[in-house]
Amino acid sequence: MSQPEQKSNINWTVLFICWLLVSLSTSISIFFSSVMEFAPCVLCWYQRICLFPLVLILGAGLISFDKNVVKYSLPLAIAGWFVALYHTLLYSGIIPETMQPCSQGVSCTEEYIDLFGFITIPMLSLLSFSMVIALLLILQRRISR
């Protein structure tokens, strides 16, 4: 296998892992809302708006590997990361609840799951967005090298 071909294979794999991550996150998110019937709050929806399109954008970038894929996916991931960060802080009580935007309907601070005593849904979202951003940045560095 030639050197450039191997390099492009690794790039593809990095993007593939990234795609798997967003697809899995999307599945889990839909599982929470449709199967377990947790109503998504406003902040959850903003994060979903950033997350769900990544499945298709990264997927399209994979089918015929597009070097520009980072350009289009990174802004979504960063926007989602900020909302997730805000949500996590709100959830853990670092930002007081009176500042939260949703007072009617579903509360953004109502706790639904609590894995191992500390993992919450916003935290999962933040983790997921962080990993996506890291992978996309790695990919960008490899491509531009």
Binding site: S27, I30, F31, M36, E37, F38, L62
Partner: protein
């Protein structure tokens, strides 16, 4: 090769999702049926309004909200099934007032119960629902105009609505709804089995399967 991997991964995710979903629903159903045996009071409380014969062996437990349109739409279906199987089905109504301001409608209903006009009042509520049950803007004063049709003493109703026992009963029902993972109304359990796929036909099938199981021909 790469695209094949992508396709396989997509399929794996989709099938994985379907598998886990069906497993989760079965798990929930099992949990509810276990509770129906071990902890019947989660389904029926002392205060719960019931309809039908005490000898009935099929219990439909319905978590409902007077302001919920789907509850109103499903009410005739349940009555039909009860009429078609006289003496075999008992309906138990529980409250899950999830809509804004729905608790005051439940309070009116419970106050009407003290006058022995529960079902009449509920029928009037469901019939007039489009006039007062707007989601963003519930209007109890509009419902108030319809209630005399149920033959209620309105002065007494007003007094009875202040009974603190009503608020307690709503809180109890909401707590039970949470225990049973009822997050939407109407939420049905037939002899402890939850309605997994929501719909008219599905409810009919669930009731029929319980009828067949209990009343073997």
């Amino acid at each position: 090769m790469k695209n094949a991997l992508l396709a396989v991964a997509s399929l794996a995710l989709i099938f994985g999702f379907m598998f886990v979903s069906s497993w989760y629903k079965d798990y929930q159903a099992e949990k509810a049926s276990f509770m129906a045996k071990e902890n019947v009071s989660t389904f029926i409380r002392e205060h719960s309004q019931t309809l039908g014969s005490d000898d009935a062996k099929v219990y439909i437990v319905e978590f409902m909200d007077p302001a919920c349109e789907t509850c109103a739409a499903f009410a005739p279906l349940v009555r039909q099934m009860m009429d078609a199987n006289p003496g075999k089905i008992k309906l138990v109504l529980r409250y899950a007032p999830f809509h804004d301001g729905a608790e005051q409608f439940v309070t009116m209903l419970e106050a009407a119960k003290k006058q022995g006009k529960y079902w009449e009042t509920l029928d009037i509520m469901f019939q007039s629902q489009p006039y007062w049950a707007s989601h963003s803007n519930p209007q109890p004063q509009k419902l108030w105009e319809f209630l005399p049709k149920a033959g209620l003493d309105m002065e007494r109703l007003k007094k009875d609505m202040n009974d603190p026992a009503i608020a307690q009963l709503i809180a109890q029902d909401l707590a039970d709804a949470k225990t049973l993972s009822v997050r939407k109304t109407p939420g049905y359990f037939v002899n402890g089995r939850p309605l997994q796929e929501f719909g008219h036909r599905q409810l009919q099938e669930l009731v029929q399967s319980e009828l067949n199981a209990v009343y073997k021909k």
